[in-house]
């Protein structure tokens, strides 16, 4: 009996083929350590770039056409026309924006020497090849050094090690956005350099151990995939379907879901599985000093929950995502935009049930508050980073007014001098930290009357969650009335037959009483 009831999992050929394909890791055809062009002492990182370009003579053109270099992409945005958006002009609700803070922010620019917004984006010598291609794990960009490597880096060793980008290369920036590990994304954590399948089936060291570029395929240094905190359009994306197809399951009922539900929605039940991620950032709390000096406080897991320079934070680990409709297009709040609604949406992800190209995706919603101009009704960009006190940088002087004036001066936008703090929201699609299939979100987590994962998405009918309350009420009443009627009918039948029996028996008894002998 047990044998009859036991059902083996069917063999998913599609998945096995993918596993086989990605099990074979690429081997570099060139050992750069053997090249004479790299066998010398490099005094500056620019000399390394020149050495690279001596063989890869045209590659700088590709790199300099990329958003990693330009910090912006040009795209058509509904209602705005052709716009260029990117780290240059997009604001966020973490460290607010790069403008006037370039020297610090450009730690994550693939170039050298960005100290202001007057950066020369046409100088190929400043392309930083090493940050992406270092395979020695030696390379490190310096803190607030305008994108230059840390002084401890052995440039020869790095130059001779170069190869295809690894997790640690991409992660050196993408894990640490927002000023610390896993602060921004929630699903990109330094732990993924070496994690288990349970954390990330693709990147797990005991799983497929894939590199980022396995999915984020790249042609001519144009890397597929994009982040909707800076990108508006639905092009050149890296999607699950590109490998897994849109019918990856053996059961059609699951495949049919994919018309409205993204893969990520079920297969990433929680994010920030190893280290915490920042869920809230209140700038309005910044500026408190102890004995005239800035200070920091930590929560039980060792995360900062207060910093005088930044405000108060809430961190969370193993977070269940929020869910929204998304069609692949988005809009960002650009410096200078007028505030349309409160909380201010730093980025708006478009989509709805009725929109045929929309699917439900998991997101991390980072909330907070930040400074804005009450008269012009727009968010303002304060100068945060400064070398010394008296430079009007907030992180040194703790004076909002001066910091805003210094920050906004650069943008050329007028300021009123009247500021307050306003609520903000930022949407981060969760795409990484895919769990093993056994841990995928189960049916009943959404198909349930109350408190399901999709409880907030009310613009469609979902079996198990939704019902016609009038019909259900009417049905229940009718059903109960029917049972009562049947029960009543039966009772009357029983009682009347008892009564009749008694009556008949009485007659018989009457006869019996007669003496018959």
């Amino acid at each position: 009996m047990v044998n009859v009831l036991h059902k083996e999992d069917n063999y998913n050929l599609k998945l096995e083929e993918l596993k086989h394909k990605y099990a074979l890791k690429e081997i570099s055809s060139v050992n750069h350590a053997l090249l004479p062009a790299l066998d010398k002492e490099f005094k500056t990182p620019q000399e390394v770039t020149e050495a690279c370009l001596s063989c890869h003579t045209e590659t700088h053109k590709e790199v300099m056409a990329s958003s990693h270099w330009n910090w912006e992409r040009t795209a058509y945005v509904e209602g705005k026309g052709i716009t260029s958006a990117g780290k240059k002009n997009v604001m966020n609700n973490f460290c607010l924006g790069t403008s006037s803070n370039e020297k610090s922010c450009s730690k994550c620019h693939i170039g050298y020497g960005m100290t202001s917004n007057h950066y020369d984006f046409n100088n190929s010598r400043n392309v930083d090849c090493m940050v992406c291609h270092d395979n020695s794990e030696e390379y490190l960009k310096g803190a607030s050094m305008a994108g230059y490597p840390d002084r401890t880096v052995n440039l020869e060793k790095v130059a001779q090690s170069v190869g295809s980008p690894r997790k640690s290369n991409c992660g050196s920036c993408h894990y640490f956005g927002g000023g610390g590990n896993n602060v921004k994304h929630g699903d990109l954590d330094v732990a993924q350099n070496s994690c288990t399948r349970e954390v990330d089936v693709h990147m797990g060291a005991n799983g497929m151990n894939m590199e980022c570029v396995a999915c984020h395929t790249t042609k001519n240094h144009q890397i597929s995939g994009k982040l909707y905190s800076v990108s508006p359009d639905n092009t050149n994306r890296a999607t699950c379907e590109q490998c897994h197809t849109n019918t990856p399951h053996l059961r059609d009922v699951l495949n049919r879901h994919s018309s409205k539900v993204s893969c990520q929605a079920c297969h990433i039940p929680v994010y920030a599985k190893v280290n915490s991620t920042k869920m809230s950032w209140k700038w309005s709390d910044a500026g408190k000093l102890k004995d005239g000096k800035p200070y920091e406080e930590e929560d039980s897991l060792g995360n900062h929950n207060y910093m005088s320079i930044k405000g108060s934070f809430v961190w969370k680990r193993n977070v269940k995502p929020d869910y929204i409709w998304f069609n692949g297009t988005a809009e960002q709040y650009l410096l200078g935009d007028t505030i349309k609604s409160v909380p201010v949406k730093m980025n708006t992800l478009h989509g709805s049930y009725k929109d045929h190209s929309s699917k439900i995706i998991p997101v991390k919603i980072h909330v907070g508050d930040q400074i804005y101009d009450k008269v012009y009704h727009r968010l303002v960009q304060p100068k945060l980073y400064g070398e010394t006190e008296g430079d009007s940088a907030y992180w040194k002087d703790f004076k909002w007014k001066e910091a805003v004036e210094a920050g906004m001066k650069r943008s050329g936008l007028p300021v009123s001098g009247q500021y307050d703090f306003i609520q903000t929201e930022m949407y981060w699609p969760v795409n990484h930290m895919v769990s093993p299939k056994e841990q995928a979100v189960s049916c009943a987590e959404c198909h349930t009357r109350n408190n399901g994962r999709l409880a907030k998405l009310t613009d469609f009918y979902m079996p198990g969650r939704d019902r016609n309350k009038i019909l259900d009420g009417f049905g229940t009443v009718m059903f109960v009335l029917t049972i009562l009627a049947v029960f009543g009918h039966a009772m009357v039948r029983i009682l009347s037959s008892i009564w009749k029996n008694k009556y008949e028996k009485q007659i018989i008894n009457y006869d019996d009483d007669k003496p018959t002998e």
Partner: protein, 217 residues
């Protein structure tokens, strides 16, 4: 009295398998609806889908059987003695009166049954099964493995399917109760199980009815 083979083999098979499928579909269906949890949503939905295909298959066989055997004529509605039958259920049955209509192989159903079962066959089942098929085909795959979603709103399909289910449950309760109103409380059910039922001869029925009228006089 005579013992008659009134329900044929297929008829009984059809009746009981349809009954159990409808009850099973109700149990799983109201779980999918969110009314309670027994199997868990995933299993309930899976079972519901499988059982629904079985029911559709059974219905196709039953239609074929009704047409080829001419049994469909049993359901031709009539108003003759309909009133008598209704009055019997709301008053005569309590006085121990006999059924006003006679049950024979050629006319198994009384006028009220004819009407209700016809409604069951041409309204209730089509609403429920039809909306169920629309429900199942709401999303389908085209030749390119792309998913096609129908334009009709799922909420209204679900409305008709739920309405049908509720009416079927009400039918079930009344139907099961009515089986106890035969000669003895179990005679009708026994007949549907064994196929045989003791039926009165025609003259017996007339005699009974005459007695009844005399008594009431």
């Amino acid at each position: 009295m005579r013992k008659v083979y009134i329900y044929k083999g297929f008829e009984r098979f059809w009746h009981w398998s349809q009954a159990s499928l409808i009850i099973f579909l109700a149990i799983t269906g109201f779980e999918v609806h969110g009314s309670y949890s027994i199997f868990g949503f995933e299993k309930a939905a899976e079972f519901h889908r499988t059982a629904s295909w079985l029911l559709i298959g059974l219905i196709i066989f039953a239609i074929f059987w009704h047409v080829t055997t001419g049994e469909w004529r049993q359901y031709i509605p009539t108003t003759k003695q309909l009133k008598d039958q209704v009055i019997f259920y709301i008053s005569g049955i309590f006085k121990g009166e006999h059924h006003p209509t006679q049950k024979t192989e050629l006319s198994k159903l009384n006028p009220l049954q004819r009407l209700v079962y016809l409604g069951f066959k041409i309204i209730l089942i089509p609403i429920t099964v039809g909306s169920g098929i629309f429900y199942m085909l709401y999303k389908t795959f085209d030749q390119n493995n792309l998913i096609v979603i129908e334009d009709y709103p799922l909420a209204s399909i679900a409305f008709w399917h739920t309405l049908g289910a509720i009416l079927l449950m009400i039918f079930l309760v009344v139907h099961v109760y009515m089986t106890t109103t035969g000669k003895t409380p179990t005679s009708n059910i026994n007949a549907m199980i064994t196929g045989y039922e003791e039926l009165e001869d025609e003259d017996e029925t007339i005699e009974n009815i005459n007695n009844q009228t005399n008594e009431t006089k």
